[in-house]
Amino acid sequence: MSGTVLIIALAVFGASAVEAVEALTIVLAAGFTRGWRSALEGAGAALLCLVVVVAVFGSALVRYVPINTLRVVVGSLLLVLGLQWLRKAILRASGYKTKHDEDAIYRRQVERLSGIPRTGAGRDASGFIISFKGVLLEGLEVVMVVLTLGLSSGHLAVAAAAAAAAVLVVAGAGVVVSRQLREVPENAMKLGVGLMLVTFGTFWGGEGAGVRWPGADLALLGLLAFYALLTWASVGRLSRTGRSAREASQA
């Protein structure tokens, strides 16, 4: 396995794991409050939809869209997505934004679902819909990452396998740790994945638009190091200014 493929697999695995944790929180809330049958059926139906989307769009895009056009579009999407993730993770790491609290989200979901009256003894529609919607919405972000990284690199199968592995790992961990999802270092994962998405986005977006990178694929490592340094410096700088502002407001 080449270095680029390994980085792609890691990026997809990380992105999928972050989204899978968020989806699992919703499925667990639906399962504990509305019954496991409807929650698992909802999650399964959503996963099936996501697999169909990857299969249909993946093969159609590969077959009908020229690679340079694909790389410009995919690179731009990766840059937008990566910059959004990186921005959010930097603001959270430096204390400007509250960290994602899966426990709080779980409590809110349970409260909301417990208030909905049951319609009958069989399958629970609310549990099914909440679980389906949660998995589908979080999963669409994963689909976007799988399609963009997989298609641009020509390794769609590797990207899809990495995403499936992440879902299995998170689901397995969910069964073991049940509701202790707040232990997952979500912000660090988001920071790492954001870095990789911005790196690949810059590389492919630039290549599709006509940039000739020095050292070809090796330029990816240079870009990754450059953005990692930028992220580290930004977190340090924002943490200092945030601390000074908080101290000034307390004085």
Binding site: L77, E141, M144, T202, G205, A209, G210, V211, R212, G242
Partner: protein, 70 residues
Amino acid sequence: MRIRTFLATVGKFCYEFIVGDTPEIAVGVGVLIVIVWLLSRNGAGASFWFLPLAVTALLLGSLWRGSSAS
């Protein structure tokens, strides 16, 4: 009517997904890619340094906006 509602939902989802609360990133990336394309069309294909530096400026600008707002 159902198709219209479905399309509206998909459109809203795409907008939230790509633009969300950071329109400066979505617009900025679009503008940057067009600039890079124009540069390379005019024979400046070797200007590989432009995109990473411009992306840096975009991220720093967005971070400044985000930290000022909070």
